[in-house]
């Protein structure tokens, strides 16, 4: 409209003015003017057939923004008026735009890109009705490339990039008002032919560059652009045929694209020169960290090649073998199968680990094993060395507190690859990975132990202490933060159980003959210990690692030895305290080092011996079971039991201690740590102890108990005799351990009530002990259990010092224990001790005549709060087989709670807690309830809500925490309603018999 009404010069003037307004600083123009200017551009872009005007603008205007808008207008109008336009005029428009850009090398970048985008959109729209011959554009581009002029070559690259993003049908694609299917079809056509052609062009350019010796800065920037274009092509998300609409959307949004081209790419990608080119390119530019990102990414994509592009398995094997050769020579400098010398840049670590991780994830095992065995073993050797080296560099990054943890990321990737690799036991002969596993495992341990055994906190400048850091509660515990690493290392430890289990526990008898090597090692260490760069560091650590792995066989037990040292250290502190009481200047440095060592050893041991499973019954890992069975003939069961049953004694002081089961020995080593802790507490040295270590101990014991305690023999083909004797059903050993663990729990709950995390891990251990009937049966035979129950019922210190979540979980455990097998009389007695006091005390309080007057007294309020908290804990203990009893018990309370709602209507904390009880009951029980019981609960909830609304209608409160907390009650009510509604889709109730 506008174009028709005004002549081209007027249009240009109008647009240039509007551009001025838009570009003006906010102080110069008001909102209205700005909106008006925007409107001018919008309506300009909507004007009918603006081609002539736009061409005129492009040729005459000097305002970049107006040029940009003209390009946009052309692009939008072409798509809009496509069917009305003559093919010839579209063709000439496209030529005009390309020529325009070519003739103006100094165009602003954003204008140029927009014009090229318009070209790409025209090509894309045209590709479907075949009206535009795409070939011509490639011809033009290849001419541009062969010009040898860097500026023109850059432009050619921009054209290709624009085409690529336009056809990728990802979020980068412009919106041209056509269907998803249209985009999909365009993409499929494009990826068959044109994309390949772009790739071929790109490869040619890269080949050309890689041959040149000295690249000027300008040339090198062109090189970089083409490399990045190659990366884009190789990261293309190939759209498979016949993918439905919904899947296209899902497919396109997937991250981490693997290279799965169609068959037509065979020639282009399987040509070994292509792969070689990318390795050559990378070697050429590896020191330029920016460019190396792209070349490594290209290689990583090539490492993920799979799908119909391979004609048969043989081709895949050839490709992989070739690739690995290229990779090894890149990493090693020159291939030498025996010694792997790693020479890589810091910036390469992540890229190289992605390459390896892709190879291991994508190539099937049978292909991996089909490559020449020598090559495969040097690949695995290289992987081992890289893993160890990255691990050490990652540790260094941590000490130096680097922001960018490249080695940590690379290490994570490699450890994950190991996990994939060793979990396959069909294609590799048994023991194939053992030596490698030993090395990775050793180096992990080594990085986490203090000198002299390990290298923790060691930098070029000596030991750095990180002990004085303030650590907030938001900081994740190591066992969660590094759970992936630990899982991999644990798995490797199982693969090399023969080495790793004894390593963690005890002596191996190789002392004398190795003494000499140790000397060499020590002297080497002093001369080599001056790493200035990571690259040197890795060379050094390589020698170091080899010697260290030998040195490790010399070290006495890692865990047992540290327990002894910890014990000695604490004793010395005690003597010092006794000699000069009140002297508070105890140097805790040695202790902290020991705690940190023990911390990591326990974490690794936990991950080695057992898995963390949610909801499933965890099984003893087969490798561990096998290991124990294999050695059971050499093992003296009685001595093993003696070691297990005497955590207070030094393991090596027990005669015949070397003929014991190593797995049990490892558990008993942790029990020894626990015993040292308990003794220190009894000696009043709690202040010197580490709550972190306390946490590690109970975390380990819980993990261990879930898997090993009262092993269910039915679940295994074969069971180790030491295991079944020591912690099988009906054994003295299991009864003893349960008693020991219970004692530990009780001690922790009173000593560590102020350490919430530790207390919480401790009650979790207790729950583990009682949540399975078999274990609970033994637990309730302990007098301590009854004492704990009675003590908790009295609400006296120290148990009432525990934080409320811990108290709730404790209540849950006590209720679960009540469902163990016992005779009627005992059961009666148990409930009299545990649940009845709760009911009696509660009723006594609320049935007092003057309850209304007393209700605000602090003691009364505390009593009520404690009861409500306990009710939440009871609800948490609900299981399918106890819900009938618990529901009836809780229902009585719920009715009374509604009365409380009335009494405490002006006390928000109590009101919230009451609603919370309902929330918990609904959450845990509604799914099991039959119709009539569910109805009872609905009615109770309804009454609750009625009372609530009566008391709160029109109420206004002042609250200092108004913004975040004032609506806590409403949030809880919404949660309650959600829980009630969940019955609609999760319902386990037995509708037929309706027993509940």
């Amino acid at each position: 409209m506008m174009a028709a009404a005004l002549g081209p010069p007027e249009v240009i003037a109008q647009l240039e003015n509007a551009a001025k307004v838009l570009m003006a600083p906010p102080s110069m123009v008001n909102n209205e003017q700005r909106q008006h200017a925007e409107h001018i551009f919008l309506s300009f872009r909507k004007s009918k057939s603006p081609f002539a005007v736009c061409k005129h603008i492009l040729e005459t205007s000097k305002v970049d923004y107006v040029l940009f808008q003209a390009a946009t207008a052309i692009m939008e109008a072409v798509v809009r008026e496509w069917i009305l336009l003559e093919k010839g005029s579209i063709e000439s428009l496209r030529t005009f735009l390309l020529t325009y850009v070519l003739q103006r090398p100094n165009l602003q970048k954003y204008v140029r890109e927009q014009i090229l985008l318009a070209v790409a959109v025209i090509v894309k729209r045209g590709s479907l009705d075949k009206s535009i011959d795409c070939k011509s554009i490639f011809h033009e581009v290849s001419q541009l490339i062969s010009s040898g002029n860097p500026t023109v070559q850059t432009l050619a690259c921009s054209i290709l990039t624009a085409l690529l993003s336009e056809f990728s049908s990802s979020s980068k694609t412009s919106n041209i008002g056509l269907s998803m299917e249209f985009h999909g079809n365009c993409k499929r056509v494009f990826q068959e032919e044109d994309l390949r052609q772009i790739f071929v062009l790109t490869v040619e350019v890269l080949q050309e560059f890689s041959r040149r010796e000295n690249l000027s800065a300008q040339m090198s920037s062109v090189f970089q652009r083409y490399l990045s274009l190659a990366n884009q092509v190789l990261s293309w998300n190939f759209l498979p045929p016949n993918l439905g609409r919904h899947y296209i959307a899902m497919f396109e949004s997937s991250q981490n694209v693997l290279l799965k081209p169609t068959e037509s790419w065979r020639e282009a990608l399987l040509d070994s020169r292509v792969m070689e080119l990318f390795f050559t390119v990378h070697r050429k530019i590896r020191e330029d960290s920016d460019m190396a990102q792209d070349s490594l990414q290209c290689l990583a994509q090539l490492a993920s090649l799979h799908g119909p592009v391979f004609p048969d398995e043989g081709a895949q094997v050839d490709y992989l073998a070739h690739f690995i050769e290229g990779l090894l020579s890149t990493i090693n400098g020159n291939i030498c199968y025996l010694v792997c010398r790693i020479e890589i840049e810091d910036s390469e670590a992540v890229g190289i680990s992605s390459i390896i991780s892709n190879l291991i994830t994508v190539f099937p095992r049978n292909v991996l094993t089909a490559i020449p065995s020598e090559l495969f073993s040097s690949f695995v050797n290289c992987l081992t060395h890289l893993t160890c080296s990255f691990g050490r560099s990652a540790a260094l990054e941590e000490v130096l507190d680097k922001d960018d943890m490249v080695y940590m990321e690379a290490y994570d990737k490699l450890l994950e690859s190991w996990l994939t690799l060793v979990q396959d036991d069909k294609h590799f002969h048994k023991g194939f990975f053992t030596q490698h596993a030993v090395q990775v495992f050793n180096s992990y341990i080594q990085c986490h132990l203090a000198a002299p055994d390990g290298t923790r906190n060691l930098t070029a400048n000596g030991v750095t202490s990180r002990e004085e850091e303030e650590i907030s509660e938001l900081q994740e515990d190591d066992r969660d933060q590094f759970s992936d690493q630990l899982a991999s290392v644990g798995m490797l430890g199982r693969v090399a159980a023969e080495h790793c289990i004894p390593l963690l526990t005890r002596y191996t008898q190789a002392r004398e003959p190795m003494e000499q090597i140790l000397c060499t090692y020590t002297s080497l260490k002093s001369t080599l210990y001056t790493p200035t760069r990571f690259a040197h560091w890795s060379k050094w650590t390589e020698t170091h690692s080899w010697l260290q792995s030998l040195a490790f066989t010399l070290e006495p037990s890692l865990l047992e030895e540290r327990v002894t040292r910890l014990h000695g250290q604490l004793q010395r502190h005690q003597q010092q305290l006794l000699a000069s009481p009140g002297s508070s200047t105890i140097d805790s440095k040695i202790l902290d080092e020991l705690y940190e060592d023990i911390h990591w050893l326990i974490l690794v041991t936990g991950y080695l011996l057992a898995d963390d499973t949610q909801g499933e019954t965890p099984l003893i890992p087969p490798e561990i079971m096998e290991y124990s069975i294999k050695h059971s003939s050499e093992v003296d069961i009685n001595t093993t039991l003696q070691i297990l049953g005497s955590p207070g004694e030094k393991a090596s002081s027990i005669p015949g201690y070397n003929r014991t089961d190593s797995v049990i020995r490892l558990l008993s080593a942790v029990l020894r740590v626990s015993e040292v802790e308990s003794r220190a507490i009894r000696a009043d040295l709690t202040d010197l102890l580490s709550p972190q270590m306390g946490k590690d101990i109970v975390w380990f014991l819980k993990r261990w108990a879930k898997t090993y305690l009262l092993v269910d023999e039915k679940l295994y083909d074969q069971i180790s005799l030491p295991f079944s004797t020591a912690f099988g059903a009906d054994t003295e050993g299991s009864q003893w351990i349960i008693g020991y663990l219970l004692q530990k729990v009780i001690s922790n709950l009173s000593v560590w009530s102020s350490e919430q995390d530790l207390a919480s891990d401790t009650v979790q251990l207790l729950v583990t002990l009682v949540e399975r009937r078999e274990r609970a049966n033994l637990v309730i035979q302990c007098e301590n259990w009854w004492n704990l129950a009675k003590q908790f019922a009295t609400r006296s210190p120290p148990l009432n010092f525990l934080s409320s979540p811990v108290q709730r979980t404790l209540m849950k455990a006590l209720v679960l224990g009540g469902f163990a097998q016992m005779d009627t009389e005992t059961k009666q007695q148990y409930w009299t001790e545990v649940l009845q006091p709760l009911q009696q005390r509660f009723l006594r309080v609320i049935n007092q005549e003057n309850f209304q007057q007393m209700c605000q007294q602090e003691e009364v309020k505390q009593e009520i709060t404690a009861t409500l908290e306990a009710l939440c804990g009871i609800a948490e203990a609900t299981q399918i087989d106890n819900v009938a009893i618990l529901f009836n018990f809780l229902m009585d309370f719920l009715t009374n709670c509604i009365g409380l709602m009335e009494v405490y209507k002006n006390t928000p904390e109590t009101v919230n807690l009451i609603i919370e009880v309902f929330v918990e009951v609904a959450h845990k029980q509604i799914c099991y309830l039959g119709e009539s019981k569910a109805m009872n609960l609905y009615e109770a909830c309804l009454t609750l809500l009625q009372v609530y609304s009566k008391n709160n209608l029109g109420r206004q409160r002042v609250d200092v925490t108004a913004e975040e907390e004032q609506y806590q009650d409403l949030l809880l009510i919404m949660e309650l309603l959600t829980n009630l509604l969940s019955k609609e889709f999760i319902d386990f109730s037995d509708t037929v018999s309706n027993t509940l």
Partner: protein, 152 residues
């Protein structure tokens, strides 16, 4: 302000608080910080070094006002104020003071009309002739009107 009672003295102070281990305190509960009864608006734990013992950082706010912060070992015993809430019927407002009818039929006139939104609300409702119930919170012998609710 001759008739204003001095709340900082008086014998009620002795039993107006009770001790509680720091770790057992909870957010939204109450605690005495710098001698003042506060509601806990923030509570977080930290430790010095990985093997250090837990310390608790408490941020509390006075019922109408100032913010206080304290950091202490989690084994530490903190004073927790006894909190009492009573609902009274509003009779009238005079010279910036509320006349309230207690449950026992007595009238007390020692409570100030609160400042801010709630005060305006009370005044507005009173002037409009509505019956209003006032919730009064008492901590360490200090009393504040904290909520209102229309009667019926």
């Amino acid at each position: 302000m001759a008739d204003e009672i001095d709340f900082t003295t008086g014998d009620a102070g002795a039993s107006s608080t009770y001790p509680m281990q720091c770790s057992a305190l909870r957010k939204n509960g109450f605690v005495v910080l710098k001698g003042r009864p506060c509601k806990i608006v923030e509570m977080s734990t930290s430790k010095t070094g990985k093997h250090g013992h837990a310390k608790v950082t408490l941020v509390g706010m006075e019922i109408f006002g100032q913010k206080y912060e304290d950091i202490c070992p989690s084994t530490h015993n903190m004073d927790v104020p006894n909190i009492k809430r009573n609902d009274y019927q509003l009779i009238c407002i005079q010279d910036g003071y509320l006349s309230l009818l207690t449950e026992t039929g007595e009238v007390r006139e020692d409570l100030k009309l609160p400042e801010g939104e709630l005060g305006k609300e009370i005044e507005g409702k009173y002037n409009a002739g509505e019956d209003v119930q006032v919730s009064v919170m008492c901590a360490m012998s200090e009393e504040y009107a904290v909520a209102i609710k229309p009667c019926k």
